[in-house]
């Protein structure tokens, strides 16, 4: 009886619209404090510098190659750090939960991840420059120990796409750890034992039992990592001086800064970002639906 009361597919005595009351507070809050203040984005993207209605800003998005390149670059960096961050973050989370490291290490990692997840912008850029920049101490260390001058003898350059990705990982790894650790906790020991009893090897256990269970959570975390990197601005600006023209820096150039620009174009670009996030979300939802089927 209780079961049918919970199953949404069975017609309930409560009518449809009342179900939406449960999420009403959330929507109200979102409207009051997120959607309404951000309306300027929408209105502004259709306004030009004189305050008149125009489609010119939106059109410019598709016409200017530099803007399309900026989107593509942002997507690439977000995808790279989402995947890279996802993989290594997962391994880290694994090591302190299921992987059997001592409990204090887990506490240390979790709390450290909390702090590191927000360590970004100028302090992060400075920390990495002081480590791997031309005068960084690891650069000097490598030169002294191995005789290799990183900047002159190899292709390595901190102020590049991969350098920026490496820096982004500093807040991507912790984010993955924080989301996945509770999920990994949910891997019951009994499953492992049952699988072993049935003769499964470790690989088979992971492939057939653990990963399918974890996949929805992993996907959810990765979309979060993607969004996190997609919206990042300060770190890239501090590390590459705006040279790597990711879309957030382009938006900042139009909306902020000491030089008069075209805010309408900036708002249009931000709307474009919303669209990209919506598309990513749809892709993620589709993957989510497929992965959840395995759990039923």
């Amino acid at each position: 009886m209780a079961q049918t009361a919970l199953n949404p597919k069975v017609s309930l005595p409560v009518s449809d619209w009342k179900k939406w009351l449960g999420v009403f507070p959330f929507f109200l809050f979102a409207i009051l404090f997120l959607v309404l203040p951000s309306l300027r984005l929408v209105i502004g993207s259709f306004t030009n510098n004189e305050g008149q209605f125009t489609f010119a800003n939106l059109l410019q998005l598709f016409q200017e190659k530099s803007i399309l390149d900026a989107y593509w670059l942002s997507i690439r960096i977000s995808a790279a750090t989402a995947i890279g961050g996802g993989i290594f973050g997962f391994l880290l989370a694994y090591s302190v939960t299921v992987g059997g490291l001592p409990k204090p290490l887990r506490s240390a990692l979790i709390t450290f991840s909390g702090v590191a997840s927000n360590f970004a912008g100028v302090p992060l850029a400075f920390a990495f420059i002081a480590t791997l920049g031309r005068t960084g101490f690891v650069t000097a260390l490598i030169k002294n120990l191995f005789g290799v001058n990183l900047y002159q003898q190899t292709d390595f350059d901190l102020y590049s796409f991969w350098g920026l990705s490496l820096t982004y990982m500093y807040f991507q790894f912790p984010l993955m750890v924080l989301i996945m650790a509770p999920a990994l906790d949910g891997l019951k020991q009994e499953w492992r034992e049952a699988a072993e009893n049935l003769g499964a090897s470790t690989t088979q256990y992971w492939l057939r039992v653990a990963f399918p269970v974890l996949l929805p959570s992993i996907l959810g975390s990765m979309i979060l990592l993607f969004g996190n990197a997609f919206g990042a601005y300060a770190t890239a600006y501090a590390l590459t001086g705006g040279r790597l023209g990711i879309i957030t820096i382009q938006i900042g150039a139009q909306i902020r800064g000491d030089v008069l620009h075209n805010p309408g174009l900036g708002y249009a670009m931000a709307m474009g970002m919303v669209v990209v996030m919506a598309i990513s979300l749809m892709g993620y939802s589709w993957l989510q639906k497929r992965s959840e089927r395995w759990l039923r």
Partner: protein, 395 residues
């Protein structure tokens, strides 16, 4: 029923917490206003200006400002032109609270803040702004600022102020090189020196040339020394293109921390920033400031009062303070050249030791608004293509 009680409980909890919070925050923010009004000791000594301020209007202004009790400023870092001391002196002198909004804001943010706060009488609305030269006219055109002529109005040079009093230049600086002499003992003396191979991977700008006033004017300045002129900034772009090809240009936005580590051993910035940096280093690292021999470029910033200022009298008092000899001298202590410098030198009111500390910037050129705008358009549009800061191709 139980949910209703729960809801009331939550609201009560929230209100209590918020009040606790404001008590905590309030303790940090309020400053007890001084009891006594200070008599017009504000405009110092005999002023040579023709409009000698009568004692009465000033007392009225002070009283009105104190009735308002607060001034909201924005984008004033404490070690930029010694604003820290200016604010503290102002607070102590008139007993007003100064609410400092975002010290990191750029000129565009300041203007945006005025627009967003049009209906706001709270402390988030900036009363006064200190913005780049080009923003004076544009803010006036958008109706965001109100006119006010300070007592010492006449001693402000004509080309640095709006005739109707909407905006007025406050200080200027000249672009210079800040060099970390521990890392690079060979100090460049002029723009051309920066192309020398010994500065490989050492020279950096203080901003992004597509958005930062300082960086754009750096490129503009280099044009002067490279065969260009105030009307043609292309030579500046070519100069930096050459520097980039030579590998001397570091693609970082330089700050003092990076100068100290040696990553950007030569930083091109305003002379007042550079000199303040040397002071803050306190010998570690050793650093020198050089104003280039040719291509001396002056950048002016302007002050204005917001048309929507919730505390207009406090704002006017702040302006009177800044443009008095006392205020201008405080700026000078921060190595900025105050706009009334010529007048003050004539009257001999600048302390000798301060004069000795200021670098020689004779021959510095002041571009007009039109020249600035033209150069800005050129540089912003062509930086990427000319200087060729390539995006790393990623797989």
């Amino acid at each position: 029923m139980r949910t209703k009680n729960f809801a009331y409980y939550l609201i009560a909890l929230f209100v209590i917490a918020a009040t606790l919070l404001s008590a905590c925050g309030g303790a940090a923010a309020t400053e007890a206003p001084a009891a006594a009004t200070e008599a017009p000791a504000m405009t110092e000594a005999p002023v040579a200006a023709t409009e000698a301020p009568a004692v009465d209007p000033m007392a009225d202004l002070i009283a009105a400002a104190q009735a308002e009790g607060m001034l909201s400023t924005i984008a004033l870092p404490h070690d930029w032109c010694n604003y820290g001391e200016a604010i503290e002196t102002f607070k102590a002198k008139y007993g007003l609270e100064v609410n400092e909004l975002n010290p990191d804001a750029g000129s565009g943010d300041e203007v945006e803040a005025i627009k967003a706060n049009k209906d706001n009488t709270g402390p988030q609305a900036p009363d006064v702004i200190d913005v780049g030269f080009a923003f004076g006219d544009s803010s006036k055109a958008e109706g965001l600022i109100q006119p006010y002529k300070v007592a010492t109005w006449d001693s402000i040079p004509d080309d640095a102020k709006d005739a109707e009093g909407y905006w007025y230049g406050d200080y200027y600086g000249v672009l210079s090189f800040l060099v970390n002499t521990d890392v690079q003992p060979d100090v460049p003396q002029d723009w051309a020196d920066l192309l020398d191979p010994k500065y490989n991977g050492q020279v950096a700008l203080s901003g992004d040339p597509r958005t930062s006033n300082q960086a754009i004017q750096t490129v503009f300045a280099s044009a002067l020394a490279n065969g260009g002129s105030l009307d043609d900034a292309q030579a500046g772009l070519d100069f930096f293109a050459e520097m980039n090809t030579a590998g001397n240009l570091v693609p970082l936005i330089a700050n003092n921390g990076l100068v100290a580590t040696g990553e950007t051993a030569v930083r091109i910035t305003w002379d007042y920033n550079a000199l303040a940096a040397v002071d803050s280093f306190e010998g570690n690292p050793k650093a020198e400031v050089v104003v280039p021999a040719t291509g001396r470029f002056a950048g002016v910033y302007v002050q204005a009062i917001s048309a929507y200022a919730p505390h207009p009298n406090a704002a006017k008092l702040w302006m009177e303070f800044l443009y008095s000899d006392e205020g201008q001298t405080i700026w000078m202590k921060g190595y900025c050249h105050p706009i009334r410098e010529a007048d003050m030198r004539e009257r001999g009111v600048i302390p000798a030791d301060l004069l000795a500390k200021l670098p020689d910037v004779s021959g510095a050129v002041f571009p007009t608004l039109d020249q600035l705008n033209a150069a800005k358009e050129l540089i912003v549009a062509n930086w990427d293509s000319t200087v060729g800061a390539d995006v790393q191709a990623a797989p």
